[in-house]
Point group: D2
């Protein structure tokens, strides 16, 4: 069936209509659950309808998946890699349409939408090589004429549950590796981005117990007195307002050394005020809408808590720019900078919106203590030119996050590294390095 | 103070008396909790008394440990390795006395007691080399003039809780690695083997949050039609009755191919009947007492359940040898063989005593299915000469245990490999391979 | 210009004509050296002419390459991987034509020609993943606040000289890895397969000092008394006559246990006699011609030496089948089996033709000693079902070759492993595992 | 027999006399070759006499070694590690005497002599862990139901030839690893340090074909404008005059940025003049004698070439301090600084004495070009505080040496890293990282 809006017509080319089935069960599209609508966060108008799967559909799928797993784990790993390569090529052929859909449905700007799909493609290509490198070990034994063997075997079925902010890349990170490791994958997308899920499903064309968590972050950037200020300002802007502050690696806390505090803050307020907020599919837009009307309301609640802490507790909370929603049909808000005391309790929580808390520090030690004082441990970054400060930052007395960047934003992750965080963030690692071991079980002989 | 029994006098040489303080807190022996007695499981007579630590002692220790951690993690890893080497040398100097104490207090035979202490020594030596190999990675980046760094940093404090059956080795596995990784270690031994704890503490001389579980096993041996029968029989005996069936890797289930079923079973019943049960410190003893009076009672309960399942449910449960306790002051029982159906529910549970369930199988597939049908996934072993059976056993469609031995008993673990199991066994890995990563946190830059 | 023969017309589609320039220098086709002809080994008729590069062309190319290297090594490794991926896709698009050309010019049968090009494609795909895994190490230091770094940097220019028998795959193995490692590659093909070189060059489109040698092999297969005979016979046939015995991994020596000697030998003579020798592009052909007229003459000389050793030295050399050329315009010879004593000196040398020496052995030890008694150490294989024989074969007292196959032919190499041999074979390793380190230099900090 | 000098009496305690047998052949001391004298380089007086082995002794030893190798490679690697651990403990027990002997015979100062023996001990301890980590790989195969195995096997016999300047440590680096890898070791020391060889042999108690070269270095230090000057001056002094300039990692070339050129040079001349040259066994001595009278003559020749280049070619060669021998019975010379043009040909050569060539540079690029302009590629170091300069230095466009230190001297090697250099230095790597692979052969299945 056709779409009501002309700008949604491109969805036909990737196999979507105005009404869609939301499950791919045992090789066919199937869904007998309730119908939900997916809306454009720029105007809260309906894009299309998706019929969700029922519990029965799910169980049928899981049974089929369980059967398929027996076959799939017998396929030689390099052959599995070849199939994942073909999946990547299928994504490559529809890169632009898929990227546009991610932007349309999630609200991130088009280069980010396309970038997210590209990350799936990169991941597929990476996994082709990986499929020949899922290496076990042969370990010398203390017993005569004996060797110890450590072999990696598939788990069987891997379930992936993705959040709305990366509807596509996170599936790619997990499913590509899970597949070359010999697992089938069962995927559940976020209820607010169902169409991206269908896309992707048509390509992956398969439905697929161990737990790998990548939970929330409350990520800080430290700027020391000797930092390259203009590099730091550009990086902070990108880290704080990119994806409208809805990345797990978004910078939410900023520690500025007292000697450059006012200088950096003035520059930041300046650039925050100039950022273009608007339709994510439009050229030049840097900040799109928040993903849902509820997110917008959440932002408003957060701002009022910040204001009340500032008044009542005298923790110095002060909104320097932003702090309000933009009146429109969409979920747009103004990127916000808050000058606040590190003792304020709001600083310990993750407000999923473009709100940056700025605090003054006097030494690297103080910055590290504050960075480590929150329950989350995902990402963090320092801007400095001193090697000794860098080595302190990345060492045993430094940042306790999984990602400890230096002179790059908090959100500079690459698929070749292991992505994930410590403490309340969950301890799991996705993508590169030895993350693949989490998708397999180890057999020692 | 002196010991009441002459045969306990050797304990003086390792610094123990008839009354002892049970905690080593902040560099000194300290305990203000209740007094417990430790008894010899061969006669249930008191060996010595130990005053336990109170909550306050514990918290004082943890505070001290937390301070010490800051210093210890700054010590270069190879220097930490040198200290662990010296700890190993201190154990080496007292190997015999410590081994005798393990036997006396735990009840395992002397060669096993000494072997357990030797394992700590080996672990210390292993960790010296490891201290120069806690390698991070430098990973190519997609950004120009950039590299990604993956650095491993200490966790801070590692807590080790050990069970009664390996009061010494398990501490060694964990504490040695935790120490070279830059952590302080807080250790809590089992309440029934407090003296071994004191020993060891005097040597390690330090009291030292992430969770690594090594839980129960319900380990099976499969004997195929083409197996080396005499090798299999010796291995099964050792795996089933060693440490009086109180190892986590004890063989509890035996799957015999129908074509060799009666032959192997007859031989096993023969050797089980000849095994010398008695004082673990005496030459020639193969099976010592169960660890406590409660264990002995547990054995009796288990036997009566087996009998009742056999009668009521007609699952063919039949005690071929053993099945009763030995009347004495100690906790001795007869090594037991039970012929039973795999459907009997007792087979799914771990009875921590020398009781072996024997079942008949017709094919390798059936054996693997039965092996994998219990919640635990620690150890397993197959006896066969066919390479294709071996590869099936260790591969994706094979045993789902962490340890998948071939032609060696279920309890053949070595420190160079990664020890641990899957499913309900917990998923953790101790000792060699990349187990050390679990004692550190990963920082990616 | 057009081709004289209709069956060469397909070469136009991959950019070749009846006259071609043999060098790709600094981005353009260029050659000012002498003209050589390339001939079809099935009939020794000319396929096309190629003008070779002069010394001046070569030096111009090397200067350009040296400049290009500075830029190429600055390109991030994953971006280099993306370019290698595109090279692989370009090969994929012309797989059939390229494979046909390899067969036409080299003389190997079509499935082998296509298989060789496929190997380049696989290698390209493999290298995409590898480009994100050229990992250095961060090693704990004994100095306080210090870490050691081990970084891998490109060499600059890598020269690849390929032999006639794998004009395409060997370039792929080396050039793909060299490229992702950040090197430019200068390639010199064999003078008798110049067209394949042009092909490939048009695709790689780049001309690109450390020495990695993969020299001759004199590879043996051992068949023990308990082997799967029919599997062994098929494998020996494939290993001995595939590519008309012109692989470096061709099986040239066969050690049969006395108990199965006559049985295996009779079967082998039977299948050798039935093998279809003929036009490599024709369906059903298993053995094509030798590559050149000179190879055919060499075969004749070898056969006459074998006969004379047999007569004069009484080493029992006896030709059981084959032993003569096939009269035709091409370079065809009969696949040959020679029964001979291991003391015969011809057995120590590599005759590059389908000639198999068969010898009787009485034990595994004898077979290993004979296997190891030649200067070469590339490939070897055993057929047996006994795990202890397998472990002996692959262990310290076993085969001294780089490749020690079990129950597969001597020529079963895969790109995921490290390909190469010991002793006179040169010690280098190509393709997978850590072979990439040979294309880089290590910088330790 | 007794020693003539009282200060040599300590040698008795490590089993040496005034006359000694120079070979340990097949388990006993044996030598039937000519007698040589070893002299103290501080006064050129005889310490003791050593009877060298003859060719026949050597061949007997090699035959015995070849037999021993068959047994040794069958000993499980961890057991080999245990023996190497005991060798380390034997060294530990005699550390002071052995260190004193190294100083007495080689001429290096006592802390360096003891440090060298300590390095052997560290290496032994390191190899204990390594003996459980000589890991092969299990690699996924593209063939169904197949895995590829990569196993590491011993070479058999490893020959070690050590130079006079590290008579003990270099043996340790090589022999310890060779031994745990399963090889026997044949060692040939330098003819001018025969006593250290005997010592060591009594401890190793074993005589033990692949080539690993660690040849000459012509190592440079670069000091940039932003360097920590006082750290740089101390490091340069240590790197240039330590071991009287007779380390392979001695700094011989110094590139000073023009902005700090005169300042650093003035400080260096000052400290060079104050360095205490004298008896290496005396407290406070920093520079001992050159090793032989011939080395002293070589120094004199070198100085006269420097002077003539300065005069004739106008390359600005100018001796700022030192440049002459110290008149005495020993081989003492004055530490020397020469201001010279990088075009002077002497700068490309390694003069094995404490002579430092100083040159002015204007940029990092110029410094790197000059650093890389010599044939050798062992060690190099930069002093700077800028991360971008550090990354340039260690990256593809940086130093082409095997060791690329930052803010530490050229001679800062540690056993955990891989020690060795590129280009004319030979390409081999000793000690840590994956150096052990060079002492084994790889078997791929």
């Amino acid at each position: 069936m056709g779409f009501q809006k002309k700008e949604h017509e491109f969805l036909k080319e990737i196999g979507l209509g105005s009404e869609n089935l939301g499950g791919h069960v045992n090789g066919e599209w199937k869904a007998s659950g309730p119908i939900i609508s997916t809306v454009n966060p720029s105007n809260n108008q309906k894009i299309a309808e998706v019929k969700e799967v029922s519990i029965e559909d799910y169980e049928e799928g899981l049974r089929a998946c369980s059967e398929a797993a027996k076959t799939w784990m017998s396929v030689p790993a390099p052959k599995r890699g070849e199939i994942v390569r073909q999946i990547g090529d299928a994504f490559r052929a529809k890169l632009d349409h898929l990227g546009r859909l991610v932007s349309l449905e999630m609200g991130k700007i088009l280069p980010e939408g396309i970038g997210e799909v590209q990350e799936v493609i990169d991941m597929c290509d990476y996994c082709v090589g990986l499929s020949r490198q899922l290496n076990g070990s042969i370990i010398p034994s203390e017993r005569p004429n004996h060797m110890m063997f450590e072999v990696w075997n598939p788990l069987g079925i891997v379930g992936v549950i993705t959040a709305f902010n990366f509807p596509c890349a996170v599936l790619g990170w997990n499913a590509c590796i899970a597949l070359v490791c010999g697992n089938c994958v069962v995927w559940k997308g976020a209820p607010t981005t169902p169409l991206v899920g269908l896309m992707v499903q048509q390509t992956v064309n398969k439905r697929f117990g161990k737990c790998l968590l990548e939970l929330s972050g409350n990520n800080a950037i430290v700027v020391m007195d000797d930092a390259d200020i203009s590099l730091a300002v550009r990086s902070i802007l990108f880290a704080a307002v990119g994806t409208a502050g809805q990345r797990c690696t978004t910078c939410r806390r900023l520690f500025l050394h007292e000697s450059i505090y006012q200088n950096v803050l003035d520059q930041l307020v300046g650039v925050f005020k100039q950022v273009k907020v608007g339709d994510p599919l439009e050229n030049g837009t840097l900040v799109g809408p928040l993903h849902t009307r509820a997110s917008r309301e959440n932002f408003e609640k957060g701002i009022s808590v910040i204001k009340s802490e500032a008044c009542i507790l005298c923790f110095g909370g002060k909104i320097l720019t932003g702090g309000s929603v933009i009146e429109s049909d969409g979920n747009f808000v103004h990127p916000t900078i808050v000058e606040i005391s590190p003792s304020a309790s709001v600083v310990k929580e993750e407000l999923f919106a473009p709100v940056l808390y700025v605090m003054k520090i006097q030494s690297l030690e103080e910055a590290i203590n504050l960075n480590n004082s929150v329950p989350q441990g995902l990402s963090s970054s320092i801007f400095t030119r001193r090697p000794e400060a860098i080595f302190k930052w990345i060492g045993p007395h430094g940042s306790d996050c999984g990602i400890v960047n230096v002179n790059i934003p908090t959100n500079g992750a690459e698929i070749g590294g292991a992505f994930g965080g410590e403490k309340a963030t969950g301890g799991g690692r996705e993508a590169g390095s030895d993350s693949w071991k989490q998708y397999m079980r180890r057999s020692t002989w």
